[in-house]
Amino acid sequence: MSYGSVEQILYDVSTSRSHREAFRQNPEEASGKYALTDAEREMVVAVQVEDLFKYGINPMLLMGFWTSVRGPQSIPEYLDRVPKLESRLEALPG
């Protein structure tokens, strides 16, 4: 489990033009330098926002990652796919 590394690659793609371009061109290669498990790499490379959300990724970061890869015009698709926050609340400390 390398949750922090997942967030780091999402952050880098969201905030750095060079990382964003590299990921768009070859996500497998761009993700190669991050210490991800196979399952994590699959979620990231395929931009599986449903699974990434369930994994606990910060929603703001997740949306930023999505729009960086798919473009801001794809927000409706993102919102169709991403789970609701209420699905996470049971796991939160009171």
């Binding site: 952050y11 703001m60 970061l61 926050l85 209420e86």
Partner: protein, 273 residues
């Protein structure tokens, strides 16, 4: 002796500036202008602005609970229509004195020696302060957008510390405080677009009454449920309230604006007599 002359809360919802549905918003933009006019009328010289990083500035490799920028400023770096990304007047010496006071009084804040702020600080600084740079901005970032979140009580106590710090300063500065944040809003979750006016009213009622107890009594789970992950930004309002205990509040504008994703609340808190 320096003094706090007023406090404000205001949103920074990017939708208000992008306005993708082209919905009337002049009355809401006018609330920023109203606050700027109030700041000018008060003769303010400094603005301490409390905001949250939106996972734009601080990476997973370093996530401060509290950060004060002690150097030069510009922004917002996440560009918004109608909000200039330009230098923001700062006062490094004043900011550093606030850091030193914090370090001596129970808050080991991090610092940024140069900072491009995001919209949480950039919107209030660019829209609610005089454009001539006469009011210097001191940004205070709190962990309200990325967990582990600053505890609500700690945010309030931070405001209390700021009050003490200001009272200890030998300058004649007149300081305004700004709590930057939407009220209810869900960002990047399946509920995005939902606004909860009941939650917003509860928060604004607490601000108007000057009683932080209803806000401090909330759990993070309750805030997430009723106010969304964006609702965690009420920490910034609590910091302002902590610095202005017993202050009387007034709502300047509020709307669950259909063009945005946030309960948009603007309020003023005046110091108690």
């Amino acid at each position: 002796m320096a003094k706090i002359v007023s406090g404000y809360i205001m949103p920074h919802d990017p939708s208000l500036f992008v306005n993708p549905q082209n919905i009337e918003r002049d009355h809401l933009l006018g609330a920023y202008t109203l606050i700027r006019e109030k700041v000018e009328a008060l003769g303010a010289t400094k603005a301490i602005i409390f905001g949250a990083d939106h996972y734009i500035l601080f990476s997973p490799r370093c996530l401060p609970q509290f950060l004060i920028a002690t150097g030069e400023l510009h922004g917002p770096i996440d560009r918004l229509p109608g909000v200039a990304n330009s230098p923001i007047a700062s006062d490094p010496a004043f900011a550093r004195s606030l850091v030193d006071y914090a370090h001596g009084n129970g808050f080991d804040v991090a610092v940024a020696r140069d900072l491009g702020v995001d919209h949480a600080i950039g919107v209030p600084a660019q829209l609610a302060l005089p454009t001539d740079g006469s009011v210097k901005t001191i940004p205070v970032y709190m962990a309200s957008g990325v967990e582990p979140y600053v505890r609500l009580q700690r945010a309030y106590e931070f405001g209390q510390m700021v009050r003490e710090a200001v009272a200890a300063m030998p300058t004649d500065d007149r300081i305004v405080l700004m709590g930057s944040g939407g009220i209810s809003h869900w960002v990047g979750t399946g509920e995005m677009g939902r606004i909860n006016p009941e939650f917003d009213e509860k928060v604004l009622d607490a601000i108007v009454s000057g009683d932080p107890a209803p806000l401090l009594a909330m759990t993070d789970q309750e805030i997430m449920r009723d106010g969304g992950n964006g609702g965690m930004e009420i920490r910034h309002f609590l910091a302002v309230m902590g610095a202005l205990p017993g202050g009387s509040g007034e709502v300047l504008a509020y709307e669950a604006w259909p063009g945005g994703v946030t309960g948009l609340g603007f309020a003023e808190i005046l110091p108690s007599a």
